[in-house]
């Protein structure tokens, strides 16, 4: 057995030492595989980043109350009476100021993107004083929060980065109203960072909404209190509401875009992998055929066919892993943290997010590379082991 390992080691070492002589083909194979990894990681990092932005802010102990039949805040509507009833529901957390429930408005305004100058749909949210305590992760990082009753807004860091004119101290005009930007906030990179927040009481008249809201964000005593809270509302005959955990609401909104990008990424990378596999096969076949005599000589000297097969496989695997590692580094440098924004069709509004190259993604890509390496080496390896010794030694 030990002898077997020594044989494998000896042949593999010799193979790898002679790699520089076959530089062209080896580089071509490695480049192909690096390409696969870059593509896979690159495209999937978009999906990961979008999903993260949509789900990071989704807490298990925050519930969202909408009108029944609506599929998003955008299409929902609740009266002030509804919101009062909701604030009295069982299972709701309270603090010194009262119940932690924030009735909110959600509208969309058009502002130009910084990158293209074209109009984008940006969510403008009217919030109640409890909004900060309900969310728990919203922090004002510059300036201050808006004063109740005034035409002032705070802008999410993502929105401030992506859309023109959203700088601290500036004002912007929507319809007949002028809004002053008095603060910038963050929300752990979550979807709230793509929004602009104003006082709901000021937004209502500006949008002719009378005394209505669109959703209530409610902080629960514990994540388990959701059942109690939800049952309390849905069994109330005076209300016609739908209650969802915030985490589920955002996770559901992210699925259509995420699965589309993921599907696209896997198809593109899969095709690329096919191309790279052909490249690897070509390389390994020519590598084996260039060494036909050497392999035959080794076999004549008493080396087994097993070590020959394994050594060819190992050579192919090393090439694939080197290519894969280069691709992974390239993808990480090029894509991780790249910020952009796209439209979330469910709410018809922009979500600012950062691409995310997660360790799992890198591992997945390296696994792909390893598979290409193994499959690319397998048939040439078997071919090498089957070379008839006598004929090969005579060959020129």
């Amino acid at each position: 057995m030990l002898n077997w390992f020594i044989q494998v080691f000896a042949i593999t070492a010799a193979n790898l030492r002679t790699l520089p002589q076959r530089r062209g083909a080896a580089v071509a194979a490695a480049v192909g595989i690096a390409g696969v990894v870059t593509v896979l990681v690159g495209v999937l990092s978009i999906a990961e980043g979008f999903k993260r932005a949509m789900t990071v802010s989704g807490a298990q102990d925050v519930a969202l109350v909408l009108r029944s039949g609506s599929d998003s805040e955008m299409t929902s509507g609740l009266t002030r009476d509804d919101t009062r009833t909701i604030a009295d529901a069982p299972g709701l957390a309270r603090n010194a100021e009262g119940p932690l429930a924030s009735p909110e408005l959600f509208v969309i305004i058009n502002l130009p993107k910084r990158s293209t100058g074209t109009d984008a749909n940006i969510p403008l949210r009217g919030v109640s004083p409890a909004a900060y305590a309900v969310r728990g992760n919203v922090k004002i990082v510059e300036g201050r929060t808006f004063t109740a009753g005034r035409n002032e807004v705070v802008v999410g860091a993502g929105a401030a980065r992506q859309f023109a004119g959203l700088d601290l101290g500036k004002t912007f005009r929507v319809g007949q109203n002028e809004w002053a930007i008095v603060g910038i906030f963050t929300a752990d990179g979550g979807v709230a960072e793509s929004e602009i927040w104003a006082d709901a009481a000021v937004l209502q008249p500006a949008y002719h909404r009378g005394d209505t809201y669109q959703a209530v964000y409610a902080k629960l005593n514990t994540p388990d209190a959701f059942r109690q809270f939800s049952d309390g509302l849905t069994s109330n005959p005076r209300l016609s509401t739908k209650v969802i955990r915030q985490a589920d609401y955002y996770a559901e909104q992210s699925t259509s875009v995420t699965s589309f990008i993921k599907g696209l990424g896997v198809v593109i990378a899969g095709l690329m992998a096919l191309g790279a596999l052909f490249g690897a096969l070509n390389t390994m076949y020519s590598s084996v055929s260039a060494r036909t005599r050497e392999i035959a000589t080794l076999r004549a000297l008493g080396f087994g066919s097993g070590p020959v097969v394994v050594s060819v496989l190992l050579e192919s695997l090393v090439l694939a892993l080197v290519g894969g590692a280069i691709g992974a580094v390239l993808a990480y440098v090029a894509f991780d943290g790249f910020t952009t924004s796209t439209i979330n069709w469910q709410t018809f509004s922009q979500v600012a997010f950062a691409f995310r190259v997660s360790p799992q993604l890198l591992i997945r890509a390296i696994v792909w590379a390893a598979f290409i390496g193994i499959f690319g080496g397998l048939f040439p390896a078997i071919h090498a082991a089957r070379i008839p010794i006598a004929a090969a030694l005579r060959a020129t």
Binding site: I46, N121, G275, F278, Y285, T340
Partner: protein, 385 residues
């Protein structure tokens, strides 16, 4: 003709390598085809927009409604020849995953405004006569196996009916086809009068107007004129050419489209580079033989031709295989009809693809061929592989 035998012989001598190279080129051009289709789909019908059409919407954002009475005032502006109103209904058929656009319109205004939706005359008449009538495009009709006469239930999360019910029912009276290949035939249109009477709120309002102007050269000027008409009113408008409107909509998807198509282009060129290298390599290996041919009296031009014929043949077969595969695949329609309503390869892209195939064949063959041509006979014969 006799030289073809020589070319074929060269290709056949390492069958496996030839096959692998061919296949990787096919993969590259298959990706190229998909890239073109994806790019066109993400552009969101900009190339289909009418040059003589404008779109007017609420200045704040498209979710704000504007009164349908604005139509009369727009119609009165000199240079405007027609106006058609449309509203976002957001209908859900059975499951939100089945998304397709659903829009209430006024049938005759609408069909006159959009000649790209081709509806048989009998169905047009049926639509004008049926209040609950609706028409749908070929893509969506095929997707759900609908036929004329079906009753289609849609639920609207936005528009509730009087009485708080959100279920609407329509009678399918027509299925329209696209006049051109890129026409989006995923949309579902029904009658505004039925919609306006049934909705619980927002009566008399619409989402956007499409305006036809007499002279496309006047489009920008008239867009400004329309907005001027409503300045300082409760509902200020924003008017732009239909192409700009579609582009603005596509831009909302943002960099993602650009990045994905960028990645695809990079992939395409990487595969070309790798397979091109293999072709060139296989010619370099035979320098010695080319020397023999020269010694036999083959002129330089003929050798160049032989090598180029070989590389072009590989590129040609592989490339056409890939392009053909992509065409066959896109002919099956969009793989994600909710997000990409149209999915096809525009004809000019196919021409570019064929040009790239030829370019690949020439580029990979020309360097080793010229090297071989310049080589002295004696030196070539001395060379080993």
């Amino acid at each position: 003709m006799k030289f073809l035998y020589l070319v074929a012989g060269n290709l056949k001598r390492k069958k496996l390598r030839t096959l692998l190279t061919l296949l990787s080129i096919a993969v590259a051009f298959f990706l190229f085809g998909l890239l073109c289709a994806l790019k066109e789909a993400l552009a969101g019908g900009v190339s289909m927009a009418g040059a003589d059409r404008l779109v007017t919407r609420h200045k704040v954002s498209i979710i704000q409604m504007i009164p349908i009475s604005y139509r009369t005032r727009i119609n009165g502006i000199p240079g405007v020849t027609a106006v058609a109103a449309q509203t976002w209904f957001g209908g859900v058929y059975q499951d939100p995953k089945n998304f397709f656009p659903s829009i209430p319109v006024e049938p005759s205004d609408f069909l006159d405004m959009f000649p790209e939706f081709v509806l048989p005359e009998a169905q047009r008449k049926a639509w004008l006569a049926t209040r609950t009538g609706a028409i749908v495009g070929r893509t969506t009709a095929d997707r759900f196996h609908w036929k004329v006469g079906d009753r289609i239930p849609l639920r609207s999360p936005i528009w509730r009916r009087d009485g708080g019910n959100d279920a609407w029912e329509f009678d399918l009276v027509g299925i329209y086809e696209g006049a051109k290949k890129g026409t989006d035939t995923s949309q579902f249109f029904f009658r505004y009068d039925y919609f306006d009477e049934g909705r619980a709120f927002g009566k008399g309002t619409i989402s956007w107007f499409t305006i036809r102007v007499k002279d496309p050269a006047e489009a920008d000027h008239l867009a400004a004129r329309v907005d001027q008409e409503f300045v300082n009113s409760a509902n200020e408008t924003k008017t732009e050419p239909e192409g700009a409107f579609a582009q603005g909509f596509a831009q909302q998807v943002g960099d993602i489209g650009t990045i994905v198509t960028g990645i695809l282009s990079a992939v395409f060129f990487t595969i070309l580079l790798v397979s091109g290298n293999t072709i060139a390599q296989s010619v370099r290996e035979r320098t010695e033989e080319l020397g023999v041919l020269k010694a036999l009296g083959f002129p330089n031009g003929l050798i160049l031709g032989l090598v180029l014929a070989e590389s072009c043949l590989i590129a040609g077969i592989g490339g056409l295989l890939g392009l053909g595969g992509a065409l066959a695949m896109t002919a099956g329609g969009s793989p994600a009809p909710s997000l990409l309503p149209t999915f096809y390869i525009p004809p000019h892209n196919i021409i570019v693809g064929v040009a790239l195939v030829v370019g690949l064949g020439l580029a990979t063959g020309v360097i080793p061929a010229v090297q071989a041509m310049r080589l002295g006979v004696a030196e070539a014969l001395r060379r080993q592989g």
